[in-house]
Assembly symmetry: C2
Homo-oligomer: 345 residues x 2
DNA sequence: GCGCCTTGTGTGACCGGTCACATTCATGCC
DNA sequence: GGCATGAATGTGACCGGTCACACAAGGCGC
C-alpha cells in the first residue's frame, strides 16, 4: 500500500528497483513471472511493488514489446439489440483476459469513411473484431490490412464452414428455416418475409433459410419485402402486407421489425394471431412482454461475442491456441403471435 | 502512396527523415504544424510522409508526451437504451475529435470489483467518463483517483447546478414532474410509481419530481414500487398494482419497465388507457410502436454523451475551454397509453 | 584443478515518438 | 564592422517498459 500520500508520478520499474535494491531488469523478471529469480529477491521486489503501489504502464508495454492486449470492435451500430449484445460478449471475454476494449462506429458505408475508421482502429493498436452484418461492416472487414489480427462476425461464412478464416457466425439460415417451418406447420399456405438490410449484394442467410423451408413444403414463394433495422422500418414495409387479406403469416428479419409489423397489422384492424401470425428473429428482451408476446428464434449473441474474442485472442497470443468457433444452435421460441390461419378451408 | 509493396514495419519518423534528407525532429515539427519550418522543407517532408505511408504511432505519442487522446466509458450496462445512447453520443463526439473510445463494464457493484475495473480503465491511459446512474457507477465515480481527468454522467448534480464539478446530467426531476402533471391533469386522483433502481441511498431525481407534482396537486402519495431495469422487473413489480382496482395511473421509471407493466395489466384484464393510464420514461425507439403506443418523456441521451465528451475534452486539452454543460429540456410525448380515468364520478 | 552448465543478476540498446537545448546562418541595428 | 536577434534545423536525453547479451557464483564430472 502506498502510504506516502502525494506521489506525483506513478512508480516505474526503476523506482521499484532502487527501493528493493535490485536492477530494473530483475523487477521486470518478477512481474513477468520469470523462473530464475531467487525466492528472497522476488519477495523483496514484490514488497517494494506493493509499497509503491506500482502498476505496469500499459502504454510502455505496448510500445516496447509490440503486444498490446487491446481489441477494437468496429460496428455500424451500438444500440440495436444484436450488435449491443455481441459487444457485451466481447467485453466480458476481454475483461476476463484483461484486455482493453475499444469501439469504433462506422457511421457511413462510404468507402473512404470506412477506410478512415479502420485506420483509426488500427492506430489504437491491438486486434480488431468487425461486426459485418451490414454493408459498412463488410466494407470494413475488407479494408483491414492483412498484417492485422482480425476476426469478423459475419452473417454466414463466405467459404463453407470448415474454412479456417477467422470468422464467427450464428446459423441464421437454420434459424430462419426453423421458424418458417413452424409457421407452415400451423397450416399457413405460405409465409411472407420482411427482411433486414442485407450485408452484401448476395442473398442473406436468413432469406435463404426461409426460402428453403417454403420450397420443401411446396409453398408459393412471395417476394421478400425490404425493411430497415428498426420498428419504423418494419411498420413502413408492412402496410402493404397488412392490407392484403391473403397474407396470413409474416416472418420478420428481427424483433424490432416485428414490432413495427405488429403495429401496422393493428392499425389495419387485423388481429394477431387470429388473422395473421407474426414471427421475429433474435429474441430481444422486450419480445416476451409484447401483447401478443412474440414468437421468435433466440440467437446467442453474447456467446458469439465471446467466441469472437476467444478467436482473436488465439491469433494474438501464440500461447492460446485457436479453438474452432462452436456455432450455437438457434432456439425456436413459440409465444402468442403465431397460430393457425383463420379459416382452415 | 506506398508503392513498394511489402513494407514490414510501418514507417517511423526517422524513416521519413532519411527519405526527406532532414532530421527526425524536423519531421516531428512538420506533423505538429510547428511554424518555423521552411516551406520547401515542409513540402519535402510531406512528400516523404505520403510516399512511405507514414502514420504517427499513437502508442509512442502517448508514452512520450503523456497526452493520450483516448476516453474510456465506464458503465454498468451497454444494452439498455439510455446507456447505449449515451455511449453512442460519446463515441460520435470522440470520433469527431479523433479520440479513441474504450469501454469498461461494471459487472458487479462490489467495491473491490468496481475498484479493479476503474484501475483497468486508468491503465488504458486517457480520460474517463463514468455513467453513474446506478450503485456500481456511483461507486466507480468515487473510486477514480483525483489526478485523472473524469466526467460523471449523473442523475442529478449533488451540488446545486452551477457547482463546477465536471458532471453532466439531464433534468430527470423536471421530466418526472411533467409526466406526472400530465397524468393528473387528465383527472386521475393520484399516480403510482414503479421505480428504477436508485443510484444511491438518496431519493432519485425521478422520484422527487413525481412526488413534487403529487404534492402540488394535493394528491395522495402512494409508496413507490421498486422495479429493476428491464421489462421482467416491471412485470414482476406491477402485478400488485394491476390487481388493485383503485389504481388508475402508473408512471414507470423507464420505457422497458413500462412494457412489463403494460403486460401485467393486460394479463389482469385491465385495459389501457380505458381503465389504467401508463406512462414511461426515456422514449426508447420501440415505445412509439407498442399497442397502445406509450406516453413518455424524451430525454436527449446522445446529446448528453456528446456533452460529457466535450467537457472531458476541455479537461484534457487546455486549448479547448470548458463550456458549461447545457441541460437539455425533457420533452413530454403524449401517445395512446394515457387518458382520463374510467368513471369521472 | 579445469572446463562446463545452470542459476541469478546486471548492462546497454531499443520501441517511436517528444522535449529542452545547441547550433548555424541571415538579418537588423547601433 | 560587431553583435544581438530570430528563423531554421540538429543533437542528446527521456517516457517506461522489453530484449539480447554479458557476467559472477556455485555445483558437477573427469
Amino acid at each position: 500500500m502506498n502510504v506516502t500520500g502525494h506521489t506525483r508520478r506513478p512508480a516505474s520499474i526503476r523506482d521499484v528497483a532502487t527501493a528493493a535494491g535490485v536492477s530494473y531488469q530483475t523487477v521486470s523478471r518478477v512481474i513477468n513471472g520469470h523462473p530464475s529469480v531467487k525466492q528472497t529477491t522476488r519477495e523483496r521486489v514484490l514488497a517494494a511493488i506493493d509499497e509503491l503501489g506500482f502498476r505496469r504502464n500499459a502504454t510502455a508495454l505496448a510500445l516496447a514489446s509490440g503486444r498490446s492486449r487491446a481489441v477494437t470492435v468496429l460496428t455500424a451500430n451500438t444500440t440495436h439489440y444484436g450488435y449491443a449484445s455481441i459487444l457485451q460478449g466481447v467485453e466480458e471475454a476481454a475483461r476476463a483476459a484483461s484486455y482493453a476494449v475499444g469501439i469504433g462506429v462506422l457511421e457511413s458505408a462510404d468507402e473512404a469513411a470506412v477506410a478512415a475508421e479502420v485506420q483509426r482502429a488500427a492506430d489504437a493498436g491491438g486486434g480488431l473484431i468487425v461486426i459485418a452484418y451490414d454493408p459498412a461492416g463488410v466494407g470494413a472487414l475488407a479494408a483491414v490490412p492483412a498484417e492485422l489480427p482480425v476476426v469478423g462476425v459475419v452473417e454466414t461464412p463466405a467459404s463453407p464452414p470448415g474454412g479456417d478464416r477467422p470468422w464467427v457466425w450464428t446459423d441464421d439460415r437454420e434459424a430462419a428455416y426453423e421458424v418458417t417451418r413452424h409457421l407452415l406447420s400451423l397450416g399457413h399456405e405460405t409465409v411472407h418475409y420482411v427482411a433486414i438490410p442485407s450485408s452484401t449484394r448476395r442473398t442473406s442467410a436468413r432469406t435463404t433459410g426461409w426460402r428453403q423451408a417454403l420450397k420443401e413444403a411446396g409453398a408459393p414463394e412471395p417476394r421478400p419485402v425490404q425493411g430497415s433495422w428498426g420498428p419504423a422500418g418494419g411498420h413502413a414495409a408492412s402496410v402493404g402486407l397488412a392490407a392484403d387479406p391473403s397474407v396470413t403469416a409474416i416472418l420478420c428479419g428481427n424483433d424490432d421489425l416485428a414490432l413495427g409489423v405488429l403495429r401496422a397489422l393493428h392499425e389495419a384492424g387485423r388481429s394477431v394471431p387470429g388473422e395473421v401470425s407474426v414471427a421475429g428473429f433474435d429474441d430481444a428482451p422486450h419480445s416476451a412482454y409484447l401483447t401478443p408476446a412474440l414468437t421468435t428464434v433466440r440467437l446467442d449473441f453474447t456467446g458469439l461475442g465471446r467466441s469472437a474474442f476467444a478467436l482473436l485472442h488465439g491469433l494474438m497470443e501464440e500461447s492460446a491456441q485457436i479453438a474452432p468457433h462452436p456455432v450455437s444452435v438457434p432456439e425456436l421460441v413459440v409465444r402468442e403471435s403465431s397460430g393457425p390461419p383463420p379459416s382452415r378451408a
